[in-house]
C-alpha cells in the first residue's frame, strides 16, 4: 500500500504538488479564520508552513532544496521553481494599472538603487566587525545581503573562498526569509498600502522571492507593482557588486 502510494507520488510529481499546496492553502485559511480571526493573512500562514516544511525536508535529506529533495515531493520543486514562479509573476502584470505604475516609476528606481547600496554597506560593515577584514570577503558578504544570488555571483567573480560564499548565500537566504515572514507584520509601519509604496518596497526589500511572498501575504493586489521593480534587483546587484562596490571596498580597506 505505502509502496504503491510512494510510487504514484514519485511518478506524478507536479500534480501531487498541486494537491498538496492546495491542502496547505486550505489549512492556512482555516487557521487564519479560527485561530487569528482573520488578523493574520491565510497566505502568510501558508508561506510559514512552506518554510517549516522546507526546514523539515532539509533536515531529512541534507539537500539544498528543502522539501523538494524528498523524491515524493519533487513536484514542489517544479511548481515553486524559477520557471513557474516567474511565469506567474509575469501573469500578475495583467492587473497593473499603467497610470499608477508610471506615477511611481522614479521613486521605484531610486529605491532600487538604495536597495542595493544600503544592504551592501550594512553587510560589509558587519562582516568587517566580525573579523572578515579583507576586501574580497567583505564585498562577498555585503553582496549576499543584497540577494542570495548577487552574493555568490559577486564572490565567484572576485575569487572569494567557499566558506565566505556559503556565508554570503546564508545571509541572503536569512534576509529573504525575514522579509517573507515579517512583511505582513510590519505592513502598517512600512506604509504598505498603495502601488507606489509597493514599488518602493520592491526596490528596497530586494530578492524577488522575499518581495513576492511578503507582498502576497500582505495584499495580493500589491504584488505586480513590487515585482515589477524587484525583478531588476538581482541584475543591478550583479552589475554593481563585482565592479563598483568591490573597488570602493578595496579602496577603503586596502
Amino acid at each position: 500500500m505505502i509502496e504503491m502510494l510512494d510510487k504514484m507520488l514519485n511518478k506524478n510529481g507536479l500534480v501531487a504538488a498541486f494537491a498538496m499546496v492546495g491542502l496547505v492553502m486550505w489549512l492556512s485559511v482555516l487557521l487564519s479564520r479560527k485561530l487569528t480571526f482573520g488578523r493574520v493573512h491565510g497566505s502568510a500562514i501558508a508561506i510559514l508552513i512552506g518554510l517549516l516544511l522546507a526546514y523539515w525536508g532539509g533536515t531529512q535529506t541534507g539537500g539544498q532544496h528543502g522539501l523538494a529533495d524528498l523524491s515524493q515531493f519533487a513536484g514542489i520543486g517544479l511548481m515553486g521553481g524559477a520557471m513557474l514562479r516567474d511565469f506567474a509573476i509575469v501573469a500578475t502584470a495583467f492587473e497593473v494599472q499603467v497610470d499608477e505604475a508610471r506615477k511611481a516609476g522614479l521613486i521605484g528606481a531610486v529605491s532600487l538603487l538604495l536597495g542595493t547600496l544600503l544592504p551592501f554597506i550594512v553587510g560589509a560593515s558587519i562582516a568587517h566587525a566580525m573579523g572578515y577584514r579583507d576586501a574580497v570577503s567583505m564585498t562577498t558578504i555585503g553582496a549576499g545581503a543584497v540577494t542570495y544570488i548577487v552574493g555568490p555571483v559577486t564572490g565567484a567573480a572576485i575569487g572569494a573562498s567557499s566558506d565566505v560564499m556559503a556565508l554570503s548565500i546564508a545571509t541572503g537566504l536569512v534576509k529573504a526569509i525575514i522579509v517573507m515572514i515579517f512583511t505582513p507584520v510590519a505592513a502598517r509601519a512600512l506604509g504598505l498600502s498603495t502601488p507606489r509604496s509597493a514599488m518602493i518596497f520592491g526596490g528596497l526589500a530586494g530578492t524577488v522571492s522575499g518581495v513576492s511572498a511578503g507582498l502576497a501575504a500582505t495584499d495580493r493586489r500589491l504584488v505586480p507593482y513590487g515585482a515589477l521593480i524587484a525583478t531588476f534587483h538581482t541584475g543591478l546587484g550583479c552589475l554593481l557588486g563585482p565592479s563598483v562596490l568591490f573597488l570602493v571596498t578595496k579602496a577603503l580597506v586596502g
Binding site: A54, G80, V96, G144, A145, T171, I200, A227, G235
Partner: protein, 132 residues
C-alpha cells in the same frame, strides 16, 4: 480560446527573458538583467494594444488570469524548497548582516512611503483575492 491567453503570456515571458539575457551579456554580467520585468512590460503593452483593437475576448484573458491567480500557491511551493537549514546554519554573521540590512531598508521604506505625494490607489479586490 483560453490557450491563446496562455500563449500570449508564454511568448511575453520568453521574449522578456531572452532580452534580459541579452542585456546581461551586453553589460558583461553573468546573469539575466530584468528579464521578468521586461516580460511584464511586454504583457502590459500587449494587453493595452489588443484591448484597443477589440481582439481580447474574456476567455483569452482567463488564460492569463489563471496563472496570475496561481501566484500565491506557487509562492508557497517556492517557500517549501528554500534552503532554510543552510540559512540557519549561517550563524551570527549571516543573521546579523541580514537583520541589519532588513532593519535599515525597512526604515528607509517607511520614510520613503511617507515622503512625497502618493496619489496611487488600488482597484477593489476581486472575490478570489478576498478569499486568500
Amino acid at each position: 480560446m483560453i490557450v491563446y491567453g496562455t500563449t500570449l503570456l508564454a511568448l511575453c515571458y520568453l521574449i522578456g527573458l531572452f532580452l534580459g539575457e541579452a542585456l546581461g551579456r551586453l553589460i558583461g554580467v553573468g546573469t539575466n538583467v530584468g528579464g521578468v520585468g521586461i516580460a511584464m512590460l511586454l504583457l502590459i503593452a500587449a494587453r493595452i494594444y489588443l484591448h484597443r483593437r477589440g481582439v481580447m475576448p474574456r476567455e483569452t484573458e482567463a488564460g492569463v488570469g489563471y496563472w496570475g491567480a496561481m501566484y500565491i500557491p506557487v509562492v508557497v511551493a517556492m517557500a517549501a524548497q528554500q534552503d532554510v537549514v543552510a540559512a540557519l546554519r549561517g550563524g551570527p554573521v549571516a543573521l546579523m548582516a541580514a537583520v541589519g540590512a532588513v532593519l535599515v531598508c525597512g526604515g528607509c521604506i517607511a520614510l520613503l512611503t511617507r515622503m512625497g505625494r502618493d496619489d496611487t490607489s488600488l482597484p477593489e479586490p476581486t472575490a478570489e483575492q478576498l478569499l486568500s
